[in-house]
Symmetry: D2
Subunit: 124 residues, 4 copies
């Protein structure tokens, strides 16, 4: 997307580090933009699609894939049949690419940590 005018701001990091940097920004952005959105099993597809299309606009982002897991769906047994999106429900992959260096950033809930961890799943 960029014509390269921004390159001077990234001279102190490598191509690999830029890929990591941009993947991480997008993962943090995605979480804090969309957590809290009302979602049901019926509306999940539209929400995942909007998350994907909006986050793929960000610099160096090649692909974003989002899964929303309602778990045992007990959260949906409330009076209104929808829930607010939480980090525990999300499983996200962000592929960033800078000059051929690719990072796959992942976020999903990790039982052992009791936390939706963001980490670099692979890089090459």
């Amino acid at each position: 997307m960029s014509s390269g005018k921004d390159e001077k701001y990234f001279k102190n990091i490598s191509h690999r580090e830029r890929a990591i940097f941009e993947g991480a920004i997008t993962m943090g952005a995605l979480f804090h933009q969309f957590i809290g959105t009302p979602v049901s099993k019926e509306s999940a597809k539209a929400l995942k699609n909007a998350i994907k299309e909006s986050m793929e606009l960000q610099p160096c982002i090649e692909e974003v894939d989002v899964r929303i897991d309602f778990g045992d769906s007990s959260g949906l047994e409330n009076e209104y049949a929808y829930v607010s999106l939480t980090g525990e429900m999300l499983d996200v992959k962000v592929v960033s690419n800078y000059h051929g260096k690719k990072a796959v950033t992942r976020m999903h809930y990790i039982e052992e940590l009791k936390y939706p961890l963001m980490y670099v799943e692979s890089i090459y």
Copy 2:
């Protein structure tokens, strides 16, 4: 969506007031959930669709319609060809209905006020 278990919490307001109340909640929610989302002319359709489907889940909401106006699109002339969604870009209608009383809540930027005003456009 509701089976009516919540009705006891709304005894002190009329059906018409409940329609106003729920339309207003959804408008405030919509603005503060989605402002800041990256959006381009290409991704706008997916974002509008997700806003509509998520906000129509809220109590008493019958229909939500969203327009995103890029204006003279000068905002898109940046290095990355997308912008963060702002209140100035939005024109939204929320139709709420409680036991036959309908409110149409509207939000759009009003030049005279220099502000994206939320108001009750019609009620019947």
Copy 3:
């Protein structure tokens, strides 16, 4: 805060209805702006204060009071000692006033509904 230039947009609702309308907007806004924010027992005071001060800026809002309840705090027993703010943790009161008509809008989690309900607690 307003000099009254916006009054023509509210001719079709009563003063009492305007108070309800503005309280509801602010409650919806508050929820969807701040849900997802990282919060610990130490940072809760600063967060509550910012929520209060920002939401009291909105039209017709006289007072906003926020409580954050960490429950049995089991959510804080994760690896990082903080959680993302959820609707279940919040207990909020918004007092709106339009030409002397006051509405107290409340939101808190209601076990019976399994839902953080927004409703008009009192109006006079």
Copy 4:
């Protein structure tokens, strides 16, 4: 904050890369959590403080400093004397530290790019 249980998820990146990664997450998070918040000159201090305290909770974050610039303040000349926080108004520094490797991530509006750029200002 972490006891190190999460370290196995970060074996494929260096300490320096981890510092970059965590700084970037927090910058993306900060932007998308707080953009849209109502803010005036009077409330800015409380908002900056809450941003700082909440974002310093995130993994590996040592310090967050936020400036909010109202520019020529023409945005405040509206009917209600406050604005919604935008990326253009923010100047943020995030210091992340992982095992002694420090990254300073910065975001501010850059006229040449017409964009609030996030970049690594220094690393050591």
